[in-house]
Structures are given as C-alpha cells and as structure tokens.
C-alpha cells in the first residue's frame, strides 16, 4: 500500500491527516473532555503536539504499523476527529482508538467511522482481530463498539493510574470470524 487509503461512509470521508488540518486538530484536542478519555493526549494541546501526531501518522503508514485516519465531513472534508488502527502484526491483530471533536458529539459519527475501519482492517489488512478499550467512566465510547456488534472480553479493574486515580479499562473485540458472521446475516441495520 503506497497511497494512503480513502474510505467513504454515508456522511464522512476517511483519509490522511493533512498539515492544513492542524489548526482544527489543536482547536478540538485542546479540551480536557477529550484528554480525560484518551490514554496519552497531551494537555494543554499545542501546535507542536499536532505536528507530532501527524509525524506519528506518516511514519506509522510508512512502516505499515499504524493507520491513522482523519474523519472529514463529506461536503467540505472539514476535520471532525481521528480514528487509528495500531497493528501488532506478529499477532495479526490491531487496537482501534478514536476521538471526535466535542461540537460533533452525539451524531453517530464515531459509530459510522468505526464500521468503515473494521471493514478496512479485516478486508484490506487481513487482520484476524480488532479490539478497542475505553475507561469505564466513558460509556459513550463503549456504545460505539456495541453499535458495531463488538464483544466485551475484559473488565480490567484498576488498570491505569490516571490523574491521581485508578481507572478501569473495558475491552471489546471482534475476530475476523465474528465479523464475517455478522455480515453474512444479511444487511445490518444502520
């Protein structure tokens, strides 16, 4: 894969993060409501952090270990969030992580994007397993996984020491076989 893939959903274009996205990235990422729900988002979030993220995304694509997609609104390709697949190639699996800018919450964008990413991961990358985690205090992220019929496989109590407190991680997964079984059941409801 030499050109970064482009995925389409009903309302979104998923493609490569661009330098011109940086101001919007900073605007939306510089928000504790986002940072609290992610493992390692710098806070405050500055231009240098966005540059670092872009660099990580480019390197990741070059080495075929990380595929970070920009989520853009269909009409304008306006940046609204990011979703990435982080591969552990030796085990044919990948973790998916995502965040949506707060003005774009509660519209189903993450659910829609995750559906496209799962398809990409299982079909284009031929992965055997895709999993995702959320902090137990952020159940909205879990709903994105459930909406995509992912299966809960772990409840890791006191798994991280975050901002002076122990946080639990909930983990969902789909294996390739489970994904195929979903799709063979006929058209899935949106």
């Amino acid at each position: 894969m030499t050109t970064f893939p482009i995925l389409h959903t009903p309302r979104l274009i998923l493609g490569q993060l661009e330098v011109s996205d940086i101001p919007r990235i900073v605007e939306y990422a510089d928000n504790p409501n986002i940072a609290n729900n992610l493992k390692a988002l710098p806070q405050p979030y500055r231009e240098k952090d966005a540059i670092s993220w872009l660099h990580h995304a480019r390197e990741g694509f070059d080495s075929q270990r990380v595929y970070i997609f920009k989520l853009g609104l269909k009409e304008t390709n306006e940046f609204i969030g990011g979703m990435g697949l982080h591969l552990k190639k030796e085990h044919h699996k990948a973790e998916v992580g995502y965040w949506i800018g707060e003005p774009f919450w509660n519209k189903g964008y993450a659910t829609e994007a995750l559906r496209a990413i799962l398809k990409f991961g299982f079909e284009a990358l031929d992965l055997n397993k895709i999993y995702a985690m959320y902090y137990d205090f952020n159940p909205a992220s879990g709903r994105v996984m459930e909406n995509n019929k992912m299966i809960k496989e772990a409840e890791l109590v006191d798994d991280e020491f975050k901002h002076g407190k122990f946080a639990a991680h909930i983990q969902y997964r789909l294996t390739k076989r489970e994904y195929e079984a979903l799709n063979s059941k006929g058209r899935r409801k949106k």
Binding site: K129, E153, E155, D158, Q171
Partner: protein, 187 residues
C-alpha cells in the same frame, strides 16, 4: 532495594537466580510442555537463551522492573522453577509469571510460591494490582491463581499467534483491596 529479596514459604526458598542455575534451567526449560505455556520462550532452548534471560533479569532488578525469583527446595535449595513479578510502575501494577520444572509438577509449589510473591508485591513493593495470564489450553495455571484468591477479569480470544495458531489468553487479577479481603477470609 539494593539486595535481592529472599522469601520463605513452608517448603521453598525464593531468591535470586544464580549463574550456577543455568545448567538446570536448560534441563527443565528445554521442554515443549514448558515453552508451549509461556509467552516468549524459544524451543529448542539453548545456553545463550538462559544467559539472555539471566541478563534481562539482573538488569530488570537494577531498574526495578523485574523481580524474578528462583524457587528452591528448602533443605537443599535445589532449583525447581522460577516466578517473576514485573512492575509497570506508573500504574502501580505488576504482571506475575511462572514455570515449574516438570518433575516437580502437581505438588502445589506454584501456588505456595505465588502466595509469597503476592505478599511481597503488595507489602514490600506497595503495588495496587497484580495480574497473571495463561493460555486457555493450560488450565492448571489458572488453578494456581484461583487458589490465591485471584479474580478473572479477561478472556482475550485470539490474542496471540503462537506456533502457527491463534491462542486465547485468560487473565486473573488481585487488587490490594481484594488481597486484604482474601487474607481475612483465609486466616
């Protein structure tokens, strides 16, 4: 901690791995019944692998990221296996891992040693959580965890590609709080 700790159980002494253990480590680890149940141990297992491990363990002790105990029989300190505690310090948690040489299986040594290592982890290292994993085809390892009051927290299907197959990992944990409750129930 500058000196490697020594722990005592009714039948075992837990202490630092020694160079003199290398021949017997080779004898017991070069066995697919052991390596199939462990994450990153090659088979066949050669002296260079034992040296690699010993070096990793010594360096890990220096950086407080690896406490690997040799398990020795009380009378003779004869080497029978090993048990490791690997802290992930920022999160006040550690993973425990272990193996026992096949001639010493089914005698309860791993459960006995884990009891001492949990105590060491929660009390001396002040950890908040200790967890351990086993492959689903190796349920005996799970029994060691259950006997020590550990609680199942994950069933990670197809989590690893090992020897050409996808394997499932089961994870058990104990938080400091759960450990205290378990001790109160036992004594």
């Amino acid at each position: 901690m500058t000196e490697f700790p020594t722990l005592h159980t009714p039948r075992l002494i837990l202490g630092q791995l020694e160079i003199g253990d290398i021949p017997v480590i080779l004898k017991y680890v070069d066995n697919p019944k052991i390596t199939n149940n462990l994450r990153n141990v090659p088979h066949p297992y050669y002296e260079k692998d034992a040296i690699f491990w010993l070096n990793m363990v010594r360096q890990g002790f220096d950086s407080q990221t690896d406490y690997t105990f040799r398990l020795g029989l009380k009378e003779t300190n004869e080497f029978i296996g090993a048990m490791s505690l690997l802290p992930k310090k920022p999160h006040h948690k550690a993973e425990a891992g272990y193996w026992i040489g096949e001639p010493f299986w089914n005698k309860g040594y791993a459960s006995e040693a884990l009891s001492a290592v949990l105590k060491f982890g929660f009390e001396a290292l002040e950890l908040n959580k200790i967890y351990a994993m086993y492959y689903d085809y190796n349920p005996i390892s799970g029994k060691v965890m259950v006997k020590n009051g550990m609680v199942k927290e994950a069933e990670l299907v197809n989590n690893e590609f090992k020897d050409g197959k996808f394997v499932t990992e089961i994870q058990y944990r104990l938080t400091k709080h759960e450990y205290k409750i378990f001790l109160n129930k036992v004594y």
